[in-house]
Amino acid sequence: MTASAHGAHLAQLNIATLRHPLDDPRLAPFVELLDPVNSAAEGSPGFVWRLVEEGTADATGLRPAGEDVIVNLSVWESPESLWDFAYRSGHLDAMRRRREWFERHVEAHLVLWWVPAGHLPTVDEALERLADLRAHGPNPRAFTFASSYTAAEAAEHHRAVAAQPAPSE
């Protein structure tokens, strides 16, 4: 509620590199979980939006980060609502089996950031946030559950950046 009161929502991107193609029998248990887990997400308290490829039920067909990399992009009312869905619902049982289906990532594969309520992040925007996290570590623009920032801290950061002369980067 506090996050929504500030007019901010939490966006999250996670990427996963498939160990086998999605139509491989070894990925069948994961594919079977897609619809029920996505439905559970939509029914979770605090769910706002998730990315879906036009004409399909999910975003597994979109491969903006590489041919064998699936993306999961969604928006939630608060970090708590996302946390409870990700780790305190049926989704956790799928997460438990992640090594059967996905390659281990050396770099960060999940990024969180604040968006104005009503804003739906694009895939490009999400990948920029992941690149920011990988390049600079957790910061108010791009962070993780373990090192998180509040919407107020992010807003303060953006005000401070806006007040400075444009950097050359």
């Binding site: 409870d84 780790y87 305190r88 956790l92 438990r96 992640r98 281990r104």
Partner: protein
């Protein structure tokens, strides 16, 4: 409050009964109810409940127990729940939590989920020893209680067999930092502890505020 002072607050038997009662309910408990459960007067219960709150073992709030609000609903009553903080004392000073977090962080980065789960399953089996797989939900509750899971039976709505849920995660602090890794480890440990082909089975069914696992009668054992 030093950890040892918080724990010492439980040395008084009445205080300890009150604490254990409040914890076992898994919800806010009023003074009258706690006094009745502990077999003491309301005044004495109030005194000890407030001492437990000062010690950081309970949290207190106020609520109208009638469920009504507005004028005429009555004065709010003081209610108690278990504090979220955890307390530990080690003599001499040891720090297994930092060790656990560093090991979990390393296992997470190396992607060692399968290896950790295999070790946890072996440990569960070793804890069970020569005993047969768990024979039923009552026995499962005893086994889980002995390991600190605080099990309670959740009745099914349609009269079917209930499931055992657990109020406490013994690995809470590490599980919060590395949920899939540590919750997967917890499930494997319980699978080993209860036995794979017995009358009960453990499966993951995570909910906010509880252990990630439930224990239920095995489907293939119902005749």
């Amino acid at each position: 409050m030093e950890h040892i002072d918080a724990i010492a607050a439980l040395q008084d038997p009445v205080r300890r009964r009150l604490y254990e009662y409040v914890v076992a309910q898994g919800r806010e408990v009023g003074r009258n109810e706690a006094a009745e459960a502990a077999g003491v007067t309301r005044t004495l219960a109030a005194h000890h409940l407030d001492r437990l709150t000062e010690a950081g073992l309970l949290e207190s709030g106020s609520r109208r127990l009638t469920g009504r609000s507005g004028p005429g609903a009555g004065r709010p009553a003081k209610v108690y729940t278990r504090a979220r903080a955890e307390w530990a004392v080690s003599l001499p000073g040891r720090d297994y939590r930092t060790a656990a977090e560093l090991l979990a962080e390393t296992a997470e980065q190396a992607g060692l989920d399968a290896e950790l789960c295999a070790a946890a399953r072996r440990r569960g089996e070793a804890l069970r020893g020569a005993a047969a797989p768990c024979g039923g939900l009552d026995e499962a509750m005893e086994t889980l209680a002995a390991r600190g899971y605080e099990p309670h039976l959740e009745e099914a709505e349609d009269g079917a067999d209930g499931v055992v849920r657990m109020r406490n995660c013994p690995f809470h602090a590490v599980a919060e930092r590395f949920p899939p890794l540590v919750c997967g480890m917890n499930l494997a440990l319980l699978e080993g502890l209860l036995g794979a082909d017995g009358a009960v089975r453990a499966r993951m069914d995570a909910r906010p505020g509880e252990c990630c696992v439930v224990v239920e009668a095995s489907k293939n054992n119902i005749d």
